[in-house]
Structures are given as structure tokens and as C-alpha cells.
Amino acid sequence: MNHRSKTQTVLMVLLGGIVSLALLPAVIPPGDPDLLSLSQPPSLKHPMGTSPAGIDVFRLSLEAGRRAGLEAVLAAALTLFLGAIIGGTAGIKPRSWFDYLQSVCARVLEATGPLLPTICIAAVAPRLEPASLGVVVSLFAWPPVATVVRGEIIHEGERLYVEAARSIGVSPFRLFVACYFPAMLARLRPWCFGLFSAYVALFGALGFLGVGNGVERTLGFLLFDSLGHLRGEPWYFIGLLVAFLVLLGVAAPFVRSLLSVPSFDSPDFGSSGERVKRVLTE
């Protein structure tokens, strides 16, 4: 086992523990306010102290982090799906009306970014569930993913073996499954963890601004709340900040490791010659 894989294993075990604790509400249930211990400093009973409302900051961070993580995973998955579908369709038929339409929509959506329209919608429709908000965010955030997928598919479509397969009448669906999809997957792999972190930040920002449903238990809102107690109870702010940074930075390699798929050019997918053979013979 080389140095990198050792580090990766240790990181995986550590992160697996943290994420399991965070994701399983039964292991550490959400904290209830304890009116007898308001604003307590860190102790054995409360490792990160208690908030001014008497809630254990460690449990509060876990609960808020769990929610932020789930929201981010959902929104990232939806964005990747939508971007792959739109970019894939545009890439298979470049310079078609659909390609032009998606390029204009992408230009407009990239100009506004996902944050500002989502703030508007979350503010005006306060009863939107996190799942619905994930759909809304993905509707505004697909353009970069679609651009990458479109470029990759156009590039892949210019390869000789793809042209050969197309010339003998292999259906676009089979071409997509055998050629375009693995190439697309290899390009989208870095986007999985990148989008996760970006959405943790985005939902954190929404909570910080106080928009959205059930915002009182989000990391962003709690961070905003803890700012007012910075002088008196610094552990409240520091505990939440640490939880947020852990979710942002450390969860990314964890997700990346989980989603590590062999690259299109790796031996698992075979050489170009084998791919040609596979496309032509299947």
C-alpha cells in the first residue's frame, strides 16, 4: 500500500465515521433545549458548549450539517442529470435549433447565476421544501454542466471509430451508451464533488439570509445567529463554523472517493480499437 492509498484509507475511515454519525439521526438524535444549561462553555457533557437557547452546539451542528449535506447531494444530482440531458442532446445534434436555444438560455442563466434567482424564489415561496428548492436550484445551475457535456460529446463524435459506427447504422442510443456516456462520466466526475461543495455554500447563503422553509435549523442561519453572541459565547460561533468548514472541505474528497469511476481512457474501458470492435460487433 503506497503513501497515498494509506492516507486515503485513513481519511475514508475517519470521514466514514463522521458522515455516519451525521447522517444517522438515531445515533446522535437532534438536541432539545435544556433550559438549565444556557450558554454553557465546552465541557465533557457538551463538547462544543451550549447555545444561548440551551441546545448542545455539537448536536445542533450535526443536525444542521446533515440537512445541508442531504440538500446539497440532491441538488447536485439533479443539476448533473439536467445538465447531462441538455448538454448531451445539444452535443449529439450540434448547430440544431435545440443547440441554439440551449446556448441562449445558458448565456442568460450564467449571467444571473443560480444564487440570485433562487433567493427570489425562496423568499417569495417560503413553503418550498428542500427537495423542491433543490429542483429550483438545478433549473438555474445546469448551464456549466451542459457546456462541458456538449463539448465532450462533440469531441467524442469526431473520433474515427464513432464515425465508422455511425456510417454502418449504429443507433444514436447505442452510440450514447457505448461511447458518449463513459466519456461524459469521466468529465463529470470532478463536477460531483465540486457541485456538492458549491451547493453547501449556496444553501448556507440562503439560510444566512433567512430565506427558505424551516430556515431556523440551517447552518447559515445558525451562523448568523451566533454572530450576535460572538463576544459572550465564542464556542457557539466556532463550533458552527467548524461544522460548516468540515462539510465544505472534507466531504468533498469523501464524495469523490465514493464516486470514483474508471476513466474512459483507463484500461477498464479498453483501448480505442477494442471500443471500435465492441461498437461494431454488439
Partner: protein, 306 residues
């Protein structure tokens, strides 16, 4: 007509065509942007509810409010009315009855000092610092700085929180009151441009490290040019390579300004947007979304212009 004049005419004609094309594409994109913002707010629950309440509303009050806010009539009528008003600089009225354009103008004035400091920071810090990497060997300090810049990718609201905490805990109690306002604006601008600055610095450094390895740079060295002169010559090449990032940098600065103004209590346009979001003031929200998008679109197209 001699050859030089003919070349100038051809060049002017080419540039003129490109400018016309740029303006036309920009107008079409702005029209799409306007349609997008209109559609977005048309699909949301009507703002008169925000004004008159969600339950127990009197239909006559609702109709009067609709008419006062210019929201009566079918959607196409409202759309063309809105478009026509936009051409005349009329952005509608806020829920409290003030003209949106007037409020935006006054808040823009409050934002101006912060915007100037932000612009100064974006132009004079990340690019020259990135050009420092225009060298074949990168030393430890440069490597450390390059890695440190990745911390600029923290969420913008977190950057604003950290800068605000720093201001409250470490600056405000020890600095005389006459300097406090200037430091506050400086820190607000810094928190707003941390993300775009980090993007710009990393992109500049990476481009500089790539360009320095080009064969033509060796000929500069062979001619005996000093490293600083080579950097100066390569600056334009690096800046040209950074042009596609301009739109995203402007967008990141606009969103960063919102959090900075909110936390540092600057009554600028970013603060106005958050106020409008909390009051569900559709006219203000729509105008802010349209103008920030138009700014990013214009900058994105400008990088493609001659």
C-alpha cells in the same frame, strides 16, 4: 487611394461590422434576459399578496392594489408595458410607492466607495501578484501563496462573516473613530472580492507559468531582456487569456457585495436587494436581477468584442 488607406478602410470596416454584430447580439441577449426575469416573477405568487396579506383580502382592495402597481390586465399586456417602460427608464414602483429607478440611484451612490475600492483591489492586486509567477522556477513563498489563495474559495457569506468579526473584535475597539469608516469600507470590499480575486490570481499565475515556457520567451531571454521587462511584455498575453473569466468575476463581485453590505451595514444596492427580498418587493427584485445580469452579459460580450 493608396494601399495604406485601403488597408485602414478595410480594417475600419471589419471593426465596424464586429461592433455592430456585438451590439445586436447583446440586444437580443438582453431581451432574453428581460423575458427571463419577467417570466420568473410572473410565475411567482403575485406581489399584491405581499402588500395586502395572504388571507381575508377584500377583492376591491386587491384590484386597486393591482392597478396601482401596474399589475392588472393579461400577461402579454403587462409584458409589453414593462418593456416599454424599461426603454423610458421607468422601472415601476416599490410596494411603498416610490419609483424604483430613484431608489436604485440613491443606493448606487452609497455603494460607490465600496465599488471603487473593490475595483482597485481586483485590478491592482491579483494580476500583478499572478505575474510574479512568470518565472521558470517557483520558490517556496510563491508555492505557499498559490496554495493559500485557494482559501479564497470559501463561501462569500462566510468571508463576510470572518471580515466582520475581525472588524468587531480586532479593529473597531482599537482604531480612532475617524478611521473606522474607511477601514469598514475596505474590509467590506475585501470580503466581496475575495472569491473573484482568488479566481483572478490563480488564473493569472497558472497562465503566466504556462506562457513563460513558450519558445518565443527563450528568444527574449537570448536577446538579454531583464525578467521584469519580459513580464511587462507578457502581461498583455496573460490578460487576453483571462478575458473569458470576466463575466464570472463580475457576477462573483456582485453577489459578494450583497453579503458585504448586509454585514457591514452599508446601505448600498446589495443591501437594497436583501431588503426587497424580505419585503417581497417584486419590482425592486426584478430590477436588481435584470441589471446585475445585464452587467455580466455586457462584460461577457465585451471580452469578445475587438
Amino acid at each position: 487611394m493608396n494601399e495604406a488607406t485601403a488597408t485602414s478602410v478595410r480594417w475600419a470596416d471589419k471593426i465596424g461590422r464586429r461592433i455592430v454584430r456585438y451590439v445586436l447580439v447583446l440586444i437580443v441577449s438582453l431581451w432574453f434576459l428581460h423575458a427571463f426575469t419577467f417570466l420568473l416573477f410572473f410565475l411567482l405568487p403575485s406581489p399584491e399578496f405581499g402588500f395586502a396579506g395572504w388571507a381575508g383580502i377584500d377583492p376591491s382592495i386587491l384590484e386597486a392594489t393591482r392597478q396601482r402597481l401596474g399589475l392588472s390586465g393579461p400577461w402579454y399586456h403587462r409584458y409589453f408595458l414593462h418593456l416599454g417602460h424599461l426603454f423610458h427608464g421607468n422601472l415601476g414602483q416599490t410596494l411603498t410607492g416610490y419609483p424604483v429607478s430613484q431608489i436604485l440611484e440613491s443606493r448606487l451612490r452609497a455603494s460607490t466607495p465600496q465599488w471603487i475600492v473593490s475595483l482597485f483591489m481586483l485590478i491592482f492586486v491579483p494580476v500583478p501578484l499572478g505575474m510574479w509567477y512568470c518565472h521558470r522556477k517557483i520558490n517556496g513563498v510563491q508555492r505557499f501563496l498559490y496554495r493559500l489563495a485557494h482559501f479564497g474559495f470559501i463561501p462569500q457569506f462566510l468571508a463576510a462573516i470572518v471580515c466582520d468579526s475581525l472588524f468587531i473584535m480586532a479593529v473597531a475597539p482599537f482604531v480612532p473613530d475617524s478611521f473606522t469608516n474607511g477601514i469598514r469600507v475596505g474590509l467590506a470590499a475585501f470580503s466581496g472580492v475575495l472569491l473573484p480575486g482568488a479566481i483572478l490570481f490563480i488564473a493569472t499565475a497558472a497562465t503566466a507559468m504556462e506562457i513563460i515556457r513558450q519558445p518565443y520567451v527563450r528568444s527574449y531571454e537570448a536577446l538579454g531582456m531583464s525578467p521584469s521587462r519580459i513580464r511587462l511584455r507578457l502581461l498583455w498575453n496573460v490578460v487576453r487569456a483571462l478575458r473569458p473569466l470576466l463575466g464570472q468575476i463580475v457576477l462573483a463581485t456582485v453577489t459578494g457585495t450583497i453579503f458585504a453590505e448586509l454585514l457591514f451595514g452599508i446601505p448600498g444596492v446589495g443591501h437594497l436587494f436583501i431588503e426587497s427580498v424580505r419585503q417581497q418587493d417584486f419590482a425592486l427584485m426584478q430590477s436588481y436581477l435584470f441589471f446585475s445580469g445585464a452587467l455580466v452579459l455586457a462584460v461577457s460580450f465585451a471580452q469578445r468584442a475587438p
